[in-house]
C-alpha cells in the first residue's frame, strides 16, 4: 500500500459531489440553479474561478440547455458534468433521451426533490425514478461519502459503457447535511480515473466528416441501435461491480456493486430501499433483529441497470417489504420493479416519506409490521 493520505473532513452531500467532480477533472460544466442542487454548481464555479479546476463553466438559461451544452461537449470528446433536481430534470426530458440515444458519457447529479404542485423543495424520489426508462444509468447514494465515491465511479462507468449516468442524492437529507468523509488524494483518483480517451470511439472532429443522428435509410438500423442500448445496460451490470471492486482496492471503499446487502444470509424477511433513508431503515432492521425478527436489508444502489439478479437472491425470503419514497397512480415504483422479479405475492410495497414528510427509524419499524399484516399489495403511510 502506498503512503498517500486521505483527508478526513466533513462536507455536505452537495459539496462532496462538487469535490468529486473537481477531482474527476471534467472539461466542461454547465449549470442552471435549482434548489436543492444549486450548491453543487456554486462550489464548482468557485473551483473554476480560483483556478483549482481547469474547465469551462457555462452558465445557461435553462436545464434543457445545461444538458444540451454538456451533450455537445461530450460528443466532442470532453468529460462533462451537470446537476439538477425535480422540475429542472423534467425540463431536460427530451435531451435526456437524446443524450442516452447518442451514447454520450455524461455524468449528472440529481438531487432528489418533490415535483409540484404545490411548490415544495423537500425530498422525494419521484423525479429521479421518472427517468429510469430514458437510457441513463441511475444510481442513488446513501451517505455523503457514497455521494463522493459514486460520483467518481460514475465517470468511469459512463466512459466505459458509453451510457450517461445520473448520480442521485436526497435533497437536504444528504445534499445539505454535513457528514464526515474521506477525500482521497488526487493521485489515486487520477489512477482510478484516467483522462477520457479523446478519440474513442467516434468524436466530432474537424476534417472527420461523420454524421450523427440523421434519418435512417432503414428503420431496422434504428431498431438495432435501440437494442444495443439494452445490451449495453445488461453489460454495464458487470462493469458496475468491477468498477466498485477496483475502487475499493485502490481507494479503500466498495459497496457491493448494484446493491448493498445487510444481514440477508439468514433473513426470513427482507427490506428493500434506496437512498439516504436506508440509514434509518438499517437502524430499524438492526433493532428488529435484536428483538429476534430474522430480517435483512437490501439497498438498491442502482435502479438502471436494474439489479434483477441481486433482487432474485431474495427468493429465499418469505416476505419482501419494499420502501418507496415515491408514489405513482400504480403505487410505488420500486415495489413494482421488485415484484416484477419476485412476483406480487411475496412483495409488500410501502409508500412513505413522500412530499418530504419525515420518516424515522421508529416509523420504519411500525411500517414493517403493518406491511407483514398486509401480506401483499401497496401500503400507503
Amino acid at each position: 500500500m502506498r503512503q498517500l493520505a486521505s483527508l478526513k473532513t466533513a462536507l455536505t452531500g452537495n459539496y462532496a459531489v462538487a469535490y468529486a467532480v473537481k477531482m474527476a477533472k471534467p472539461h466542461v460544466i454547465a449549470a442552471y440553479p435549482i434548489t436543492p442542487q444549486t450548491t453543487i454548481v456554486e462550489k464548482l464555479s468557485e473551483f473554476v474561478a480560483k483556478g483549482e479546476l481547469r474547465a469551462s463553466f457555462v452558465n445557461v438559461e435553462s436545464e434543457f440547455s445545461a444538458l444540451a451544452t454538456v451533450y455537445g461537449a461530450s460528443m466532442a470528446g470532453a468529460r462533462a458534468f451537470t446537476a439538477t433536481s425535480s422540475h429542472g430534470l423534467f425540463y431536460m426530458y427530451e435531451m435526456l433521451w437524446w443524450a442516452a440515444g447518442s451514447r454520450a458519457p455524461i455524468v449528472m447529479a440529481v438531487v432528489t426533490r418533490t415535483v409540484g404542485p404545490p411548490w415544495n423543495i423537500h425530498d422525494e424520489h419521484n423525479d429521479i425514478l421518472a427517468i429510469r426508462d430514458s437510457g441513463w444509468a441511475v444510481a442513488m447514494a446513501s451517505s455523503v461519502q457514497e455521494a463522493f465515491d459514486l460520483t467518481v465511479q460514475a465517470f468511469r462507468l459512463a466512459e466505459k459503457a458509453y451510457i450517461p449516468v445520473a448520480v442521485g442524492l436526497d435533497g437536504f437529507v444528504l445534499s445539505h447535511t454535513v457528514e464526515t468523509l474521506e477525500l482521497p488524494p488526487q493521485e489515486l483518483v487520477d489512477e482510478f480515473l484516467p483522462p477520457r480517451s479523446p478519440n474513442a470511439p467516434m468524436p466530432l472532429r474537424p476534417g472527420l466528416p461523420l454524421t450523427f443522428g440523421n434519418i435512417p435509410s432503414d428503420d431496422r438500423i434504428h431498431a438495432e441501435h435501440l437494442k444495443r442500448i439494452y445490451w449495453a445496460h445488461q453489460e454495464a451490470k458487470k462493469a458496475i461491480k468491477e468498477i466498485d471492486a477496483e475502487y475499493g482496492k485502490l481507494l479503500g471503499r466498495s459497496y457491493g456493486g448494484l446493491v448493498e446487502r445487510r444481514w440477508l444470509e439468514d433473513a426470513k424477511y427482507a427490506v428493500v430501499c434506496m437512498g439516504a433513508w436506508c440509514g434509518d431503515a438499517e437502524a430499524a432492521v438492526e433493532s428488529l433483529r435484536r428483538e429476534g425478527v430474522p430480517v435483512g436489508l437490501m439497498r438498491l444502489r442502482f435502479i438502471r441497470p436494474f439489479p434483477d439478479e441481486e433482487v432474485a437472491e431474495l427468493e429465499a425470503a418469505e416476505k419482501v417489504v419494499v420502501f418507496d419514497r415515491d408514489i405513482t397512480p400504480a403505487g410505488g415504483v420500486l415495489g413494482r420493479e421488485v415484484a416484477s422479479v419476485l412476483g406480487r405475492d411475496k412483495v409488500v410495497d410501502v409508500v412513505a416519506g413522500i412530499a418530504g414528510v419525515d420518516f424515522k427509524a421508529s416509523d420504519f419499524k411500525a411500517a414493517f409490521r403493518k406491511a407483514l399484516e398486509a401480506e401483499k399489495g401497496v401500503v400507503l403511510i
Partner: protein, 262 residues
C-alpha cells in the same frame, strides 16, 4: 463542425448511415442547437482542438422554440457561428406559421380565407444586434458572394456570430422552383429584404441593398408578392400597408447605419 436541429436540413442531408454533408455533423433536438454548439466550442477549447462550432437552423428552430438558447448563447458571447436560414414558416412539417412568417401570408395554420397571418414578422437579426453580438448580418440566397464573404468574415471573429439568411421555399410559398432565385432577388429589389451587417461596432448596408435606401429606386412590392401563391389573396390596401411597413423597416436600418456608421 455543424449542429443541425430539426428542420428541412435534417432531411436534405441524406439518409443514414450515409451522409450528403462533407463535414462533421451532429443532429440535435429542435430547441437545443445553440447550446449544443456552445458545448462543442467549449470542448474544443479545453481539448485544444482547432475547429469552429457552426449551427445551421431554420426560423422555427431559431426564432421560436430555440430562441431562449440562441439569446443565451449571444448574451454569453459563446464562440458559435449561428446561421438561421429563414423560409418564413415551419416548412418541414408542412407550412405552418412561425414568428418569421410575414403579415398576411397564407400558411396551413393561417388560412387565406381568414386573411392570412395577422402579426408582423419578428426581426431576429435586429434582436441579435441588441444582444451586443460582435457580428450580425443578413444575407440572401440570391447573393451567394455576399453570403460567402459574410461567412468568411464571421469565421474570423471569436464570439457569437449570427447570420439571418433569407431562403425562399417553393412549395411553402407556392411558386415554381425555377423562380427561387428570382423570388429571392425581388425581395431585395423591392426593399422587402435588406442586406446589412454589423461588424465590430460598425453597422452598414451591403450592396445591392445600398441603392434601395433611396425609395424611388425600389421596385413595387407587388412584383415580389405576385410571384407567390401565399400572397394571392391580398388586397391593394393590404399591399399598400405592407409597403408602409417596409418604409418603417428602412427607416430603422438607416438610423442604425447613421448611428453606428464609420
Amino acid at each position: 463542425m455543424l449542429s443541425i436541429p430539426a428542420s428541412c436540413a435534417s432531411v436534405v442531408q441524406g439518409l443514414g448511415p450515409k451522409s450528403g454533408i462533407g463535414m462533421p455533423l451532429l443532429n440535435v433536438p429542435f430547441a437545443s442547437a445553440a447550446s449544443v454548439a456552445t458545448g462543442i466550442a467549449e470542448a474544443f477549447k479545453q481539448l485544444g482542438v482547432k475547429g469552429r462550432a457552426v449551427v445551421w437552423a431554420g426560423d422555427g428552430g431559431t426564432a421560436d422554440i430555440g430562441f431562449a438558447a440562441v439569446s443565451a448563447a449571444a448574451e454569453r458571447n459563446s464562440d458559435v457561428l449561428y446561421v438561421m436560414y429563414d423560409n418564413e414558416a415551419y416548412m418541414n412539417t408542412g407550412i405552418q406559421r412561425s414568428s418569421e412568417t410575414p403579415k398576411y401570408a397564407w400558411t396551413t395554420t393561417t388560412p387565406a380565407y381568414a386573411g392570412g397571418k395577422k402579426e408582423q414578422k419578428k426581426d431576429v437579426a435586429l434582436i441579435m444586434l441588441a444582444h451586443g453580438a460582435p457580428y450580425v448580418a443578413t444575407a440572401n440566397i440570391a447573393y451567394p458572394q455576399d453570403l460567402y464573404r459574410k461567412l468568411k468574415r464571421a469565421a474570423e471573429i471569436e464570439g457569437f456570430k449570427f447570420i439571418h439568411l433569407f431562403a425562399p421555399c417553393p412549395p411553402g410559398w407556392s411558386f415554381d422552383p425555377s423562380l427561387t432565385v428570382e423570388v429571392a432577388r425581388k425581395a431585395v429589389e423591392t426593399g422587402y429584404w435588406i442586406l446589412w451587417e454589423y461588424d465590430d461596432g460598425v453597422f452598414k448596408l451591403n450592396p445591392p441593398s445600398t441603392i434601395y435606401a433611396d425609395k424611388s429606386k425600389r421596385r413595387p412590392l407587388k412584383e415580389y408578392l405576385k410571384l407567390q401563391g401565399r400572397f394571392a389573396h391580398l388586397t391593394d390596401e393590404q399591399i399598400a400597408e405592407l409597403e408602409k411597413e417596409i418604409d418603417k423597416r428602412w427607416d430603422t436600418v438607416l438610423k442604425l447605419a447613421k448611428a453606428f456608421g464609420k
